[in-house]
């Protein structure tokens, strides 16, 4: 019972902090909108006649990928933010509380995941405003999927943060984790496309986010995406789920070592 209350209060803290940060919420509309409007429309026009899927324009094609990107960037940022808690001393208050480290990790992680999930939903709202077509059922199906994708990524962020002494290496995360994971996930181009270089296909398949993107595309794009699908939906979910469990296990361990 104490553990459950501890979990709840940590979750609540993350969500409250997120909802109070108005600048972040406003800015969270900007980045996905830029990708969808400028990049989506621009590259889409340039590619016309080249790469296309029957009945699906480029903007729509990258929409699931931009959802995944938003989840990735938010999740990593939120995870790393535990360093701020350390720098500003708050972490001490949690670490000395009579609550298990597993609960601490889980509360923080699910709280951050909730925030990332809200960011993901915002991307759907932007897509709706831009006239990108998706069914309401697809949106509902994407909710648990987005949570599943986020959990592993937030955990990864928390793990990195628990080993990182300071915020100085913050920029390196963007270069060495976020962008490679994003570019190699098939968010912007099909991995299983006929013209995709062999090495890229191989590397992308090692990236857990690839299967998250694949799952989102399968659900959002529906039948037209079938020829480009990397794995059936249930295999995607299995791989992402396994990644989540692995990250939670390592995360709990790294939190138990934290001082």
């Amino acid at each position: 019972m104490t553990e459950l209350r501890g979990f709840y209060t940590l979750w609540l803290r993350e969500v409250k902090r997120y909802l109070r940060d108005r600048t972040r919420i406003v800015s969270s509309f900007v980045q996905p909108a830029l990708w969808l409007v400028v990049f989506g429309a621009g590259i889409g026009a340039a590619l016309r006649g080249g790469f296309q899927i029957a009945g699906v324009n480029y903007q729509t094609l990258i929409f699931p990928g931009i959802v995944a990107q938003t989840l990735l960037f938010t999740a990593m940022f939120m995870g790393i933010s535990v360093i701020w808690d350390r720098e500003f001393g708050f972490l001490k208050e949690i670490l000395v509380a009579p609550v298990s480290r597993f609960t601490l990790f889980l509360g923080k992680m699910i709280g951050d995941s909730t925030d990332a999930l809200i960011q993901g939903v915002i991307v759907f709202a932007i897509a709706l405003a831009l006239g990108i077509s998706f069914t309401f059922t697809a949106f509902l199906e994407c909710l648990p999927l987005m949570l599943l994708i986020t959990i592993g990524l937030v955990s990864l962020g928390l793990i990195i943060a628990s080993f990182m002494g300071s915020l100085e290496s913050f920029g390196a995360i963007q270069s060495f984790i976020n962008l490679p994971l994003f570019f190699l996930s098939g968010a912007l181009f099909p991995i299983a496309g006929t013209n995709t270089p062999q090495w890229l296909q191989v590397v992308a398949r090692v990236n857990p986010l690839t299967y998250g993107v694949d799952a989102l595309k399968t659900v959002i794009l529906g039948a037209p995406y079938a020829p480009l699908q990397i794995q059936p939906l249930w295999v995607d979910i299995g791989i992402v789920g396994a990644f989540d469990l692995l990250m939670i296990a390592i995360g709990t361990w790294s939190f138990s070592k934290m001082k």
């Binding site: 019972m1 104490t2 209350r5 501890g6 709840y8 209060t9 940590l10 609540l12 803290r13 409250k16 902090r17 109070r20 940060d21 808690d85 720098e87 500003f88 001393g89 708050f90 972490l91 001490k92 208050e93 949690i94 670490l95 000395v96 509380a97 009579p98 609550v99 002494g165 300071s166 001082k259």
Partner: protein, 329 residues
């Protein structure tokens, strides 16, 4: 009488450095126990071990009857801690910070509101309770942290340098709060400080710690009494030579020079003063001023450690300097 805290040869080494060296102390129920020592003496390390943040490398300790290693969870549940550095979430309100603490420490939901209201009243933050803590002053944050440490009704409250970096007026306020909170909640308080006046004003008993070792342990008054005498302070030119002269002529060997002022511990200071003056003028020393005073804790500290404790370690730092300082610690 049950000891609230009992350490047995408690030791902590970091690599080659022994921060706490075979410490044996007992803290009685209901007292305010002050850990006094210069920066780096091992005060915070000791507190951190007793709070189960650090594991000892040798010896053992019990807090409220629970072993700090084997029964860490029970220890945590029974203690309150106010850290040296701030440990609040400044993006939440004061009240939210208190609720979070109550939940983390398993305070029954039905009692939370009542307890939090009472604590807010006690630390006089009722009217600011729903403001974000980033708008609080340093003293207000400290008060909230003091209150927070009490929400789960701990038996022992640990205060690590509770007034470091605060202005004199606020420090005075905090001292009053600590005494009031102690009375109101019938708890034992363990505090570390490198401020002599703080230790003197607050503590029932003081343990002086230096290089990780306990060098003295008693009530402030008794510690001062052990010096058996008064302190004569002299300001004069050629202070070194005067020191040598007084040592030679009057046998005043218990002397030291602090910031250019000669301090001599003596017995029967009243009658010695004229003799000192006479000896000085006789040898053509020009004495600017001479004073007689009761020994204070500073003298006690000097006596036991041979060093002058300076209250300069707790400089208030802001921004990145503060972050840097935290890293060093």
């Amino acid at each position: 009488m049950v000891h609230v805290i009992e350490t047995n040869q408690l030791t902590k080494s970091f690599g080659g450095l022994t921060a706490v060296d075979k410490l044996d102390i007992t803290v009685e129920s209901g007292e305010i126990f002050g850990f006094l020592g210069p920066n780096g003496a091992g005060k915070t390390t000791t507190i951190n071990m007793l709070c189960t943040i650090l594991k000892p490398t040798g010896g053992s300790a019990k807090v409220n009857g629970f072993d700090i290693v084997r029964e860490a969870m029970q220890v945590r549940r029974s203690i309150g801690i106010v850290f040296q550095d701030p440990s609040i979430d400044d993006r939440l309100t004061g009240r939210e910070n208190l609720y979070m603490h109550a939940n983390l420490y398993g305070v029954p939901t039905s009692q939370q509101k009542d307890r939090i209201d009472k604590i807010l009243k006690l630390v006089e933050l009722e009217d600011r309770a729903d403001d974000l803590m980033r708008t609080y002053s340093g003293g207000m944050r400290r008060r909230l942290e003091l209150g927070r440490g009490l929400i789960h009704y701990p038996k022992v409250l640990f205060l690590d340098e509770p007034t470091v970096g605060l202005d004199p007026q606020t420090r005075d306020h905090i001292w009053t709060y600590i005494k009031e909170l102690k009375e109101a909640h019938d708890i034992t308080v363990v505090l570390t400080t490198h401020y002599m006046d703080e230790a003197d004003r607050l503590s029932d008993r003081i343990g002086i710690i230096d290089h990780g070792k306990l060098v003295a342990l008693d009530s402030p008054q008794k510690l001062k009494d052990t010096l058996e005498g008064d302190v004569i302070t002299i300001k004069a030119a050629k202070i070194d030579e005067l020191t040598a002269l007084l040592s030679e002529k009057l046998g005043l060997t218990q002397s030291r020079i602090v910031d250019g002022t000669l301090e001599i511990t003596v017995r029967g200071g009243q009658s010695l003063m004229p003799k000192v003056m006479e000896a000085a003028t006789h040898s053509n020393f020009l004495v600017d001023s001479i004073q007689l005073r009761e020994p204070n804790l500073e003298d006690v500290f000097l006596h036991y450690t041979g060093k002058n404790i300076r209250a300069d370690g707790g400089k208030e730092l802001h921004g990145f300097a503060a972050i840097q300082r935290r890293k060093i610690r």
